[in-house]
């Protein structure tokens, strides 16, 4: 019995979407959580582990990086430049902001996150990520800016290796999108005659 599973990217998308919906996000935002997980996994980042972290935080009442990300993308994806946009402090698994900042970078050219102590991360319009020395497990005084400058890079898909404990956690949340069995649901589900024709 292995303690981790290699997921197809479509499995990861589906799992994170359902878990996010199970954690109380709207279907629309939950779908974007699944899309963001795919984006991160393609760059070799532990998207499932981070999702388990931010979903747990959100269940505890915290704001999630995906909700902040969709708000930013909605607001700024049509802009020409960003100037000193403050991000909320205390976001768990803030890397989930990056896919949404990529959406903005496609419009503005290059998005950077800086903190008082230095560079946090930058995302190019091509979706290339550079993590800076000021990166932390939670956002703290982070400021968004844009700079011009593009570079392109082809990325090969990476299949995420996810521990069974993280999958169990996410599947537990996913089950909140399902409906417990009832006599009616079983009766209506399909074949009841013999299948041996």
């Amino acid at each position: 019995m292995t303690d981790s599973v290699t997921l197809a990217l479509s499995e990861l998308r589906s799992l994170i979407t359902k878990a996010a919906r199970g954690a109380g996000l709207s279907w629309g935002v939950a779908e974007e959580a699944g899309w963001a997980a795919d984006w991160l996994a393609r760059r070799g980042m532990p998207a499932a582990d981070w999702a388990a972290d931010w979903l747990a935080a959100r269940m505890g009442g915290a704001l999630s990086p995906v909700e902040v990300g969709v708000e930013l993308a909605d607001k700024y994806s049509e802009e020409f430049a960003l100037e000193r946009i403050a991000l909320p402090d205390g976001l768990t698994a803030p890397a989930y902001l990056l896919p949404f900042l990529h959406q903005i970078a496609k419009a503005v050219g290059h998005v950077t996150i800086a903190a008082r102590v230095g560079q946090v991360a930058s995302i190019s319009s091509a979706g290339d990520v550079t993590i800076g020395p000021a990166w932390q497990a939670q956002s703290d005084g982070w400021i968004l800016n844009s700079v011009k400058g593009l570079e392109a890079q082809t990325r090969l898909p990476v299949r995420p290796l996810v521990s069974n404990s993280v999958i169990e956690c996410l599947e537990g949340l996913s089950l909140r999108t399902t409906v417990p069995p009832s006599e009616i649901s079983r009766k209506d589900a399909g074949a009841h005659e013999g299948d041996s024709d």
């Binding site: 197809a8 709207s26 629309g28 909700e67 993308a73 649901s185 399909g190 074949a191 005659e193």
Partner: protein, 554 residues
């Protein structure tokens, strides 16, 4: 007859109106046709001269073992790995709850190594409880038709051919109960393989898997006949073999697909409707085309003669279809009015005025059949890029969104969506089996966990929410306040300009028949003998009457 002579001399006739095409009753009358996915596969393997063989057959006297079926195309090789099992009758079930099957399969990308075969042997027989890898393109299983399988083995073992009537009554030796692809259970993701020409059209890996499975179903029956009859046993005759397809048992699980993949549905429907429009624009009825039309009609009549169903809705449709095919035969037999500028259009308009929906959709399939030179290139447009549909245009105004709704979703106005009967159902996923089901909102618990498939209601609810908001307000602001509409807003934005993306019907209405959705999807697969066993699960046949891999190998 050259392609140039067949090419339309007038602009394509306008496509049919989505308000007509995308109604459930008409989608539920769809017929397989030239652009159906299994036909696309068969044309390709014949055109490109694919070679097929069976490099491994290790099956014992109990019918247990493994086999490999190899398909070699011009650039790549694919192999179906089949595992044959000895399944007690009492364990045989087509339901997703089953845990054992008569045979299980995986389609491998390339040729499997010995290590691959051992890995697959540990996982494929478990189906949903196992794992496959990016080396595999599909995972599937099949159960025998016990009665026909026994009859065929018995006859062949005694050196006799099976009874044709017995074969026709069932139509398959085995039926698949699920064919998983596109990343399911660890299989290769669709986006990683869709740039291969042979896998660009939808479900080509799954169709190849089923086609090779069909060869296996005959091979395993002949094997068991040899075990029983020894030297006295014979092989299945070519004609009888052709009459066997692969059965398929399909339930509600397939229904949400068309709602969740609207851009893909638009591609399928647009290709088919464009094909019809091109044929309607042709100016001549050539002798060859006329002969092909007669042949296609004869084949359709032969098929419908063997097409049985005990479901009241389908029985009524079959009565209509038999009657309509006879009327079509009489009409084209009389030569119809071919001396008009657009004779095929004339025939189509006659059918649209005279035939039932079932007959009209059958006529559509018949009209495409003689015109491969005019329509087959549309198989290149059956796919859709679904990976770009995530960003929302937050700068779009509320007023613009209302305009899009008015342009694209006017069809929801035909329903009184405030009436509880219009939202009597809800789609959900069962906790027990993780399969889609349809519940009664007013009698069952769980509707708060509803899947977002009620598009008409969702758009209606969005319109209510937009009421009173200023037209110049940006959607970013609106969605921040009401994120529950995000799913619907994205759908409206991304599907604008895709006229055949939405089913123009209410999927939550009391009288909605899920089998209509299944029929449409299965017709695009190329399925025949659609046989509903209730309003939510069906049996069909695939590849019946079509060649086998060893018949197209040069």
């Amino acid at each position: 007859m050259s392609v140039a002579e067949q090419t339309p001399m007038l602009p394509e006739q306008a496509l049919r109106d989505p308000d007509e095409v995308m109604r459930l009753s008409r989608m539920g009358s769809a017929h397989p046709m030239r652009l159906s996915f299994l036909r696309v596969l068969l044309r390709r393997v014949e055109r490109e001269g694919w070679r097929f063989d069976r490099p491994l057959w290790e099956v014992d006297d109990h019918g247990v073992g493994r086999a490999v079926y190899r398909a070699r195309g011009p650039e790549r090789t694919y192999c179906l790995v089949a595992f044959a099992h000895d399944l007690p009758d009492e364990m045989r079930s087509d339901r997703v709850i089953a845990t054992a099957w008569d045979a299980t399969f995986a389609l491998v990308d390339g040729e499997p190594t010995a290590a691959d075969l051992d890995r697959l042997a540990r996982n494929v027989p478990l189906q949903e409880a196992g794992r496959i890898s990016a080396r595999e393109l599909s995972l599937s299983r099949a159960n025998r038709s016990v009665r026909l399988f026994a009859h065929v083995v018995d006859r062949l073992s005694r050196g006799q051919q099976p009874d044709a009537a017995e074969i026709d009554a069932v139509g398959y030796l085995m039926r698949t109960t699920a064919v998983y692809g596109s990343g399911k259970f660890g299989a290769a993701d669709r986006e990683d393989i869709c740039d291969r020409p042979e896998l660009k059209a939808p479900f080509q890996a799954e169709m190849l898997s089923v086609w090779l499975t069909r060869a296996f179903t005959v091979d395993i029956a002949e094997h068991m006949a040899r075990v029983r009859g020894g030297a006295a046993a014979t092989r299945l005759g070519q004609d009888l073999r052709r009459r066997l397809g692969v059965g398929n048992s399909t339930g509600l699980g397939m229904a949400p697909f068309l709602v969740r993949h609207p851009a893909l549905l638009n591609s399928w429907m647009t290709a088919r409707e464009t094909a019809l429009a091109r044929v309607r624009a042709l100016t001549r009825v050539t002798p060859t085309a006329l002969a092909d039309l007669h042949n296609a009609l004869s084949a359709a009549q032969a098929n419908v003669a063997l097409w049985h169903s005990a479901h009241p809705a389908q029985m009524a449709k079959l009565v209509d279809l038999r009657s309509d095919l006879a009327r079509i035969e009489a009409h084209i037999g009389a030569g119809w009015n071919q001396q008009t500028p657009l004779p095929w259009n004339e025939l189509w308009l006659w059918g649209a005025a005279q035939l039932s929906e079932e007959g009209q959709e059958s006529l559509l399939a018949l009209l495409l059949e003689p015109h491969g030179a005019v329509v087959d290139d549309l198989e290149d447009s059956l796919d859709a890029d679904e990976t770009t549909a995530f960003s929302i245009d937050g700068a779009m105004t509320v007023g613009r969104l209302k305009t899009l709704i008015a342009e694209d979703y006017g069809w929801i106005d035909q329903f009184d969506l405030a009436d509880p009967a219009q939202s009597a159902r809800f789609w959900y996923v069962s906790e027990e089996k993780l399969e889609p089901r349809l519940g009664d909102r007013h009698a069952e618990a769980g509707h708060e966990r509803e899947q977002p498939l009620g598009i008409a209601q969702a758009v209606w609810a969005l319109l209510q929410a937009l009421t009173g908001r200023p037209d110049d307000e940006g959607l970013a602001r609106f969605l921040l306040a009401q994120p529950e509409h995000r799913h619907t807003v994205r759908r409206i934005q991304t599907l604008h300009g895709l006229p055949f993306a939405e089913i123009h019907d209410n999927l939550l209405a009391q009288g909605m028949l899920p089998i209509d959705i299944l029929r449409c999807k299965l017709a695009f697969f190329g399925a025949t003998r659609f046989d509903p066993r209730s309003d939510r699960w069906v049996r069909i046949s695939l590849f019946q009457g079509m060649p086998y891999p060893d018949e197209v190998t040069i």
